[in-house]
Structure formats: C-alpha cells, structure tokens
C-alpha cells in the first residue's frame, strides 16, 4: 500500500465506520516524510486520527507509522486507543489519562505488544496470550471490537483474548 492507497483506505474507514457507528471523525493528521536527499521520494508517513463518539464523551484514536522498505511500505508502529476524553480540542494529541481498551505496539521489558484492559497500568502482554496475535491488529478490526465493548461486552470477550 503506497501513500495514495493509504489515503483511500482512510477515506474508506471514515465512510464505513463513521456515521453508521456514531463516530464523528476529526480531520486526520497524515504527515508524509520525504527523503532529504531526493526531496521527492516518500519514505513513509504518520497518521494520527481521533474519532469522538457522538453519543457520549468517549473516543477512538488511531496512530500508525508506515515506513518504506525495499519493495513495499510496512506498518512500523501503531497504537489504537479507546476511552473517555475531557475536551475535543487537539484530541489526537491529547495524552490519555483513562482507558477502556488500548493496543500498543510497544514492547515493555522485552515482552512484546500489549493490550490495556480498563486501566492504564493493566497491561496484558502478548506472552500471556495464546491469541490473538496483537501485532496483526488492524484499525478496522479495533473499531469493530470497540463497538462490541460499547454494547456491553468485556474487553476479553470483544477482543477474543485467550489466556495461556
């Protein structure tokens, strides 16, 4: 997926997972990075995109970094967050203080990706799970599962967490 294809993907997410789910997506911050030498070649991009729910003061925030490798662009880092917010202004840049569910593609203590279940300090690491493979989590899948959480399912059930 190149930069233009990615933009189309984001458009598709807004169309398919926007109003129908009650998400009022804000303007995505999609920042391409160009090679300093050639100034033409796009070597990757960063997405930060927040979508507050209309019905209550909760929001989804998705962040992805894509980097160019020989032959393809790959998603290098990501973070998907769902939880309450205090104010809409600068939502995609706001530091989260409370969380309902969040998947971080960050390794703490060499333990792989993790998912937060309800609390900031409650991290379920990949090495505690037999499934799913958190590194394969996607934006669309996250949004769909968040809608299940909003319907009352637990994070464990909605995200089909299987503990070892």
């Amino acid at each position: 997926m190149d930069y233009d294809e990615y933009k189309n993907f984001v458009r598709g997410v807004k169309k398919d997972y926007g109003k129908s789910l009650g998400i009022g997506w804000l303007v995505p911050s999609l920042r391409p990075v160009y090679d300093v030498a050639s100034k033409q070649e796009c070597i990757g991009w960063r997405l930060k995109w927040a979508g507050p729910f209309v019905a209550d003061e909760n929001y989804v925030c998705v962040r992805e970094d894509w980097a160019g490798t020989p032959g393809a662009y790959i998603r290098r880092y990501f973070s998907y967050h769902y939880g309450p917010y205090h104010r809409l202004e600068g939502l995609e840049d706001a530091k989260w203080k409370a969380v309902v569910v969040r998947i971080d593609a960050r390794s703490y203590n060499g333990r792989g990706f993790h998912i937060h279940d309800g609390r900031k300090d409650r991290r379920i690491h990949q090495d505690e799970l037999s499934s799913p493979d958190l590194s394969q989590s996607g934006m669309v899948d996250f949004i769909e599962r968040v809608t299940e959480v909003r319907k009352g399912q637990s994070v464990t059930d909605a995200f089909e967490l299987r503990f070892k």
Binding site: K7, N8, V10, R11, G12, K14, K15, V27, P28, S29, L30, R31, P32, V33, Y34, D35, V36, A37, S38, I43, G44, R46, R63, D65, A67, R76, Y77, S79, K95, W96, R102, D104, R106, S107, Y108, N109, G110, R111, K120
Partner: protein, 112 residues
C-alpha cells in the same frame, strides 16, 4: 468515494530532530540509550505511553533520514562518511580521521 480533508503537512528532518531532542531533554537520556535499555527490559525511565510512541516514531524517521543522507553523500563523494572528531581544545577545528591523516602528512611534508 466522498471527498475528505487531511492535514498533510510533511514531517521535516528538522522537526524530527527537534522532537527527538525535546524528549531527550525531558527524560534526560539519549534516544539510543533509552530504546536499547527499553528493548532489553532494563530501562528505569518512566515514559508516558503517548510520549513513548511519539519519541519512537520521530527517532525512527530521523534515523531513516540520517541513513539516506549518509548514503546519498557517500554516493556523491565516492568515499565512506567519516565520523567527525571534535577537539576539546579551543582553536582546533573538528575534522574527520581522513582529514587528520592528511593534515599530519602535510605537516610532515612542511617539516621536511
């Protein structure tokens, strides 16, 4: 597909450098040290997860751009990029190892 607005301001090298420096100052550790210790599980620095994401992201893009710049300069000059060694003595200019060897040779030639 409906039209959709994006904020598409490119991320510049200067901004990536500035952001990396900001986090290094804030947490009083170099990026190289911090991420190496984080991966090993030996980091004692408590970084907010959002800061962590941003720091890692900027550092990765800065590193990508550094590598590409080094490659471009190497291809242009035909020589590997040399690390610049900074002198601790005032009045002595920084120079690469190649430049230092050349300077030493010039001094020998002048002395002969």
């Amino acid at each position: 597909m409906d039209s959709m607005e994006f904020n598409e301001q490119p991320l510049t090298y200067a901004e990536a450098v500035e952001q990396v420096s900001k986090f290094e100052r804030m947490y009083k550790i170099t990026s190289e040290e911090f991420f190496a210790s984080l991966d090993k599980g030996t980091s004692g620095v408590d970084v907010h997860p959002d800061d962590l994401y941003e720091w890692r992201s900027y550092f990765a893009f800065k590193s990508d751009l550094d590598a590409r710049l080094a490659t471009a300069l190497r291809e242009e000059s035909g020589e590997p990029i040399q690390e610049v060694v900074y002198s601790q003595n005032p009045g002595i200019h920084a120079r690469t190892k190649v430049q230092a060897v050349q300077a030493a040779n010039n001094n020998l030639a002048l002395a002969a």
